[in-house]
């Protein structure tokens, strides 16, 4: 058995070794199962640490969204604006933006307010509604009956995901919200202008449907809550997909669900295990 110190192995796992050293370690790993197992254990430990810290951060981001979203009478600063400001403007203004974005009352009247600050207009009344608002308004037209009657089964989740990904042109999440009390009912394709939008529908034990909309595109990766009439929404973007979770549910519940979806890893696409039976016309036609 070859003796390699933890010092060397940790440096290897962390990518801190020079190329020549890395190759030497890899050569040993090919020949020594004990050392390979130790490296696996170190990698496993690091992966769990990263996941733990990521989970804490996801909670903090949820707090930021929850604090900044329902403040119609106060100063509203988009988190993206704050992040851009941190990079582009002076330290004082950047910190002020960040603090205000976090929702903390800070009385520092001697410090000039930064130009990026916007006084709060009522939410949901922007002049040109985006696709999220359009989807939220369309969502209000769905009822419980529209999902419960005469629908084909979509039991093959892998295939549904594959179909939706083909429609969007990018892989996306099809989360299982059963542990949270929302069962998957069906998925279909909609359209916003000329761009495809997918809709994944769930039903809870009561109330109207919950929908996860997805559209190809970039955006802010932070969870952002909005309210359009009775429909609450949470938006974010990741992996080249902009997501919108919408439903007539409590905003805290919606935010928790969105956090859960965001934390889920994006699974690689897998081919369908059995021949495809079209689940509905929208899926079949790609729009």
């Amino acid at each position: 058995m070859t003796e390699l110190s933890d010092e060397l192995l940790v440096a290897y796992v962390d990518g801190q070794l020079a190329r020549k050293q890395t190759r030497a370690v890899e050569k040993v790993l090919d020949q020594d199962d004990v050392i390979a197992a130790r490296v696996d254990a170190l990698k496993h430990a690091h992966a769990r640490l990263e996941a733990a810290f990521e989970a804490i951060l996801a909670g903090e981001e949820m707090d930021v969204s929850a604090v900044s979203a329902p403040a119609p009478d106060g100063i509203v600063i988009e988190w993206r604006t704050a992040k851009m400001a941190l990079a582009a403007i002076g330290i004082v203004a950047a910190l002020l933006l960040a603090i205000a974005g976090y929702g903390w009352p800070l009385s520092l009247p001697s410090i000039m307010a930064p130009p990026q600050v916007e006084t709060g207009a009522p939410q949901g009344v922007s002049e040109a509604p985006g696709w999220q608002e359009q989807m939220a308004r369309a969502h209000a037209l769905l009822s419980r009956d529209s999902l419960e009657v005469g629908l084909e089964s979509q039991a093959n989740r892998d295939f549904v995901t594959l179909q939706l990904a083909q429609i969007l042109g990018v892989n996306l999440k099809l989360p299982n919200l059963q542990p949270q009390g929302f069962r998957f009912v069906r998925a279909q394709a909609l359209r916003s202008g000329n761009e495809p939008v997918t809709q994944i529908l769930y039903l809870g034990s009561r109330g109207g449907p919950l929908a996860l909309y997805a559209k190809k595109g970039e955006g802010d990766d932070t969870l952002t809550a909005e309210q359009y009439g009775s429909i609450g929404t949470v938006t974010w973007a990741e992996g080249g997909v902009a997501y919108l979770l919408a439903g007539d549910v409590e905003d805290t519940v919606l935010m928790r669900l969105a956090t859960k979806v965001k934390l889920e890893p994006l699974l690689p696409l897998r081919a369908a295990s059995r021949p495809f039976t079209p689940v509905n016309g929208a899926l079949n036609s790609g729009g």
Binding site: A41, L49, F53, I56, W79, I91, A98
Partner: protein, 170 residues
């Protein structure tokens, strides 16, 4: 960046509400003493370092700083928001809670923030070699614990509460 600063403060003090409080005080200090910020310094490195300095400054005011720095396991576990996403890696949470603050932060900066050893050292006011040495000790200890090997001696993870540069003045 604010969620990242909040996570740093939370992991440092081991509780959500105290982390918020510490971060608020540190931010006020940053605003008051923003002249110390040097252009070219990464803003997040500077901000993390200021929070850490604030914590050290306040800790020195306590009669028993070591006892003061200890954290509660249950409150630390709350940082993982298990009620939100169902994620709580209990063994890892317990392991982190049992580490000295400097070692928790070392892990956070390197594996949570992706900092290199130099930047992590700047935040914690230690040499990059110290960061590397801590990572070896802690990684080995965690890997042992998760794979049920005999744990490393407790003395291996004892840390001073004070950064190396300040020891002589205390």
């Amino acid at each position: 960046m604010m969620p990242r600063l909040k996570r740093f403060a939370d992991v440092l003090v081991g509780a959500r509400d105290e982390g918020t409080s510490l971060l608020g005080r540190a931010l006020r200090c940053m605003l008051d003493e923003q002249h110390r910020y040097q252009r070219g310094t990464s803003l997040d490195v500077w901000a993390f370092a200021e929070i850490y300095r604030q914590w050290l400054f306040e800790l020195r005011g306590h009669a028993l700083p070591v006892a003061q720095a200890k954290i509660d396991d249950a409150r630390f576990a709350e940082l993982f928001y298990p009620e939100v996403d169902g994620y709580l890696d209990a063994p890892v949470a317990a392991f982190l809670a049992g580490l000295p603050a400097q070692q928790r932060l070392t892990l956070l900066l390197v594996y949570g923030e992706g900092f290199n050893h130099e930047d992590a050292g700047r935040v914690l006011d230690v040499a990059p070699d110290t960061i590397a040495a801590r990572l070896v000790r802690i990684s080995a200890a965690l890997a042992d614990r998760l794979s049920a090997r005999p744990p490393a001696p407790a003395a291996a993870i004892v840390e001073t509460l004070y950064p190396e540069g300040l020891r002589g003045s205390l």
